[in-house]
């Protein structure tokens, strides 16, 4: 594809928007192809690879034994972090975690945490003494747009297929991690003046603000985030919210398919 300078690219995206078209020919609420693979990495207790268009993301789950916090003696913990390292694209630079990578990790983390899909009490082994710490690490290997949805999907898929390595830690038998729900994120980007679903790299380069919506199995909101420069109206939100509901149902099916394995 011809590289357009951002100003020209913005013009082109605006023109396409007027025709209700997108730069890769998709409809406004169409997404790119998604493939999901799980159990794909030795040493990770749960793992997933998501390819969403040209975006490639891995997630891995690890467990550790921890002493619980004194004020929550029967609760384990969950932590989700994302790395946006230079491997992911030409624009990424080495160095300490960028605000963009911190935001990515925290938005994915909140969606999972706030859905309540992990019961922290279920991670307790000996109250006041030993609990599981669950750590989800997400690694973006190729960013060609909409890494938020790819990361959210990889994280929940890795979590839902994770096996608690109790034997290795000498605290019982290995067992599937209990996960009560499948929170899914759907992200929208303002491109050519209107929001579209699952923006690709060109659309992000020439677009404006993003809205990230994480929905639970019942369609409740668990996390919202607006990123980048731009404003939106309540009416615009109502429109994308309906699309998000459908998108999340579809991606949730993808995860469910992997769990039978």
């Amino acid at each position: 594809m011809v590289e357009l300078v951002p100003a020209l690219l913005r013009q082109e995206l605006a023109r396409l928007a007027e025709e209700n078209n997108r730069i890769d020919g998709r409809g406004r609420w169409d997404s790119r192809d998604v493939t999901l693979e799980t159990d794909c990495l030795y040493n990770a207790e749960g793992s997933a690879k998501v390819v969403m268009g040209g975006t490639v993301v891995y997630a891995g789950v690890k467990f550790e034994l921890r002493t619980p916090w004194p004020d929550r003696p029967t609760q384990g913990s969950l932590m989700c972090g994302a790395e946006l390292r230079p491997v992911a694209g030409r624009k990424y630079e080495p160095g300490p975690p960028s605000p963009a990578s911190i935001e990515l990790g925290r938005v994915v983390d909140r969606g999972i945490r706030e859905s309540g899909c992990i019961d922290m009490e279920s991670l307790c082994i000996v109250p006041g003494e030993k609990v599981w710490g669950v750590m989800i690490d997400i690694h973006v290997l190729s960013d060609q747009g909409n890494i938020f949805d790819a990361c959210g999907l990889a994280a929940i898929a890795a979590l839902r297929t994770a096996v608690v390595p109790a034997e290795r830690f000498d605290v019982g038998e290995d067992h599937t991690l209990q996960v009560n729900g499948t929170p899914i994120m759907a992200s929208f980007t303002r491109v050519g003046g209107r929001f579209v679903l699952d923006a690709n790299e060109q659309e992000e380069l020439g677009g404006d603000e993003r809205i990230h919506i994480t929905l639970g199995d019942k369609g409740h909101l668990h996390s919202l985030q607006k990123g980048l420069k731009g404003v939106f109206t309540p009416a615009e939100f109502a429109e994308i919210f309906d699309v998000a509901q459908k998108r999340c149902v579809e991606l949730r099916k993808l995860v469910a398919e992997k769990e039978g394995n």
């Binding site: 369609g219 668990h222 939106f232």
Partner: protein
Amino acid sequence: MMGGYGDVQLLNEDGSRLDGRKVDEMRPVSIEAGILPAADGSAKVTHGLNVAVAAVYGPMEAHPRKIQRQDRAVIDVRYNMAPFSTSDRIRPGFNRRSREISKVTAEALESVVLVERYPRSKIRVEIEILAAEAGTRCVGITAAAVALADAGIPMRDMIVGVASGKIEDTVVLDLDKAEDNYGQADLPVGILPNTGEIAFLQMDGDLSPDEYNLAMEYNFKAAKEIHEIMVDALKRRYDGGEA
């Protein structure tokens, strides 16, 4: 959010809240503009027991070069909690939470400041939380908006930080400390009071679509009230000198 450990009662039997507020009533807010002589613009917002101070410097040349934007100013926001602002002291320096809030606050302010008037320049906005009692990111946004106005930076609208949430399955406006700790959801937003647009949006917890709509309705109502207090503060500043 989701921090509730058991059944903490947050509503009285008459439906009022523990501090006596109604479900759609916000905590008291007071604002002073122009309180820091070294800054180009400044403000102090007291919102409940929260105290946030904002200072604005600029527009100035953006450096290093690589942060410059040819067509507009960048807004460089630091949201920082003072070590003594919380119940347990926090170590000085940034953490992941403050970096995320700084990022999305900067993006919200860039959405209202007429940044295209100052190409290649930088506007520094420093938000310092001196006392924290739930909702500091919103109080910081309000303080930043007043400080920007105090610095004479042109904006297409003001921006007001407000939050609603859910406690005991009830949507309420402006969570206080206990409500935040034991509540079920929080929806902080940054509202443009004149256009009715939204420039800042976060949410966590559990909200049905209907609950979301009600919480948003409360937020718009509160934004109008706070906006009046902001305008008053700026008027006092320019009528009466350094307040």
